[in-house]
Amino acid sequence: MTAPGSNRRALLGRPATFALALGLWFTPIPSGLTSQAWHLFAIFAAAIFSVIVAAFPLLTAAMLAAAAAVLTGTIAPAKAFAGFANGSVLLVVVAFLVASSVVKSGLGRRISFLVVSAFGRSTLGLAYSIFLTDAAIAPAFPSNTARSGVLFPIVLSLAEGAGSTPHDEKKRRVGGYLMFCGMASLAVSSALWLTATSVNPIGVEIARQFGLKIDFGSWLLAASVPALAAALLLPVVLYWLFPPSVRATPDAPAAARAALRSMGPLTRDEKVVAVAFLLMVTGWVTAGTLKLDLTAVAFGGLGALLATSVLTLDDIAQEGGTLATYLWLAVLFAMSGQLNELGFMSYVGGRLSSALEGVAWPAVYVALLVLYVLMHYLFVSQSSQVLALLGVFVDVGLRAGVPTPLMAFALLFASSYFSTITPQGGSQNVIFVGSGYLTQGELYKLGALTTSFCLLVFLLLGTPWLFLVVR
């Protein structure tokens, strides 16, 4: 069912979207860009615009954009559809399917009762349990996408345990709040630990080229104050930005303990899911050392769950939402990658940052950081942005006189916490987005506000802290 308000927005937004696309397309191409890059930007910008103004859902916008990009000859079909074979995209999809086994088997319910019995006196307590769990497991997980596959079933079970469903307007808010806490937690924990995401070592390698050596300890020391402050404050900030419908549940811990007792021992399916997850987690944690492919590990887990009939083909057939997620994520991933490959990202980054020449270094430092974070509106991959822009921005900062550790660390941390700025800003978000607890408008709004809050915390607390410990 569609609300009259959203119909009105669509009616206004759709012509505006097409006007924007055509307007940009026929605008004279800026010197230094090819027509291909400019036209792809017109299509991509219009697609994102249409989602923000609620003219189209993400899936519709992505499909129209893919068709426009290929049919106008802007990019080759092989490039436009490359996202469908991307390992990170497939990992999200498989993790989604695997997560459903945690709920179906009853293991998720059991875990949620365990969490609620310890933290469940309030919804805020549950949110803190998510941040705590994630921060604790993050240093062992070199992939935050894989970590989202572990965290999501727990968050989903907590939401369902609280009686929250995506389709009940009032009840969905608890789930929506917890889902966004999951996304925000992944963003902050990735900034806290050097080894919490594959993006960080790439950034460290770039920083090394500018003479800054960073190891596990120096990263943790530099990140500790701003990242822990953000982790402490974010559940409260989100609680205020997106108030859950149920807040205080003083009787929930006792009820959860009683429910746990009534559940009895682990069932056969719960045991199978627990073992499968344990093996997958072991595979993901040791992937770097043993040279295991993360997606293949997830495929192995899904295969095992199907082979043991914990999941059936009927269960998979009912996951239509996963297909929708796969389609839009693959298309946007490929399109953003192409914008990067065609030089658009480094062009915009270079132009914006070169405009700062001659400005005092403190202003350059703040401006570069803000621009770097805003640039993530155009990226669907954190590592792509780090590879394309981190070095450019560090270089501009250094030439303006910003101390190397300050500029490099600030941008490195931003490369993690900016992931929530859009639903597609990091592949680890997507599994939470696909749960359906939050509307697209809410995701963009919470994303912008959460990222702005993290930016403020890292600027106001992180900057003096960095001066103190790493200068």
Binding site: I29, S31, I52, S452
Partner: protein, 174 residues
């Protein structure tokens, strides 16, 4: 409301980030101009491990080439290169720079094996459109080159400096 308009404002800003710099005017026949700038490029690399640390690789790079100077070669190009890099003998490749009108500048590059700090020289061999018949040379240094486990490669070249000469009146245009 701010949260909703922030991305829209940024998209607009990104779209308007095109330079206020006016592209250089039409050069006189036989005129030589100098240019300098940077090249941020990313792409892929496939490496063949040979004996005793000897490595050979093929690579493909694309990215934005931003030039400075009001009377240089232009404001910027999309730079695309394919090359072969050998850890013992160095690197060689072909490069195409394409501007906003689709006009191209062709060059051959050679130098040290691609990596952080390596030095590359290029010979401009011709072009299309307004660059038809141009010749020249340039050099650059890779400020950094980063490679991921998946074979993705990214780097930034600084100190890109060169000169280009337009064909004289009556000279054949390739």
């Amino acid at each position: 409301m701010v949260s909703k308009w922030l991305p829209l404002a940024f998209l607009l800003a990104a779209g308007c980030s095109g330079p206020a710099v006016v592209p250089p005017g039409r050069p006189a026949p036989g005129e030589t101009r100098t240019f300098e700038g940077t090249w941020s490029a990313s792409g892929s690399r496939r490496t063949l491990e040979l004996d005793r640390g000897h490595k050979a690789s093929i690579l493909s790079l694309t990215g934005s080439l931003l030039l400075t100077g009001e009377r240089g070669l232009g404001v910027g190009f999309q730079g695309e290169a394919i090359g072969f890099s050998d850890s013992l003998t160095g690197g060689t490749g072909q490069c195409v720079w394409t501007d906003e009108r689709g006009d191209k500048v062709f060059s051959q590059i050679r130098g040290q094996p691609i990596g952080t700090g390596s030095h590359v020289t290029g010979t401009i061999t011709g072009g299309t459109g307004r660059y038809a018949g141009v010749t020249g040379e340039y050099e650059l240094r890779w400020q950094y080159v980063i490679e991921t486990d998946e074979g993705a490669i990214s780097g930034r070249a600084v100190g890109l400096r060169g000169r280009v000469t337009w064909p004289g009146a009556g000279a054949p245009r390739s």
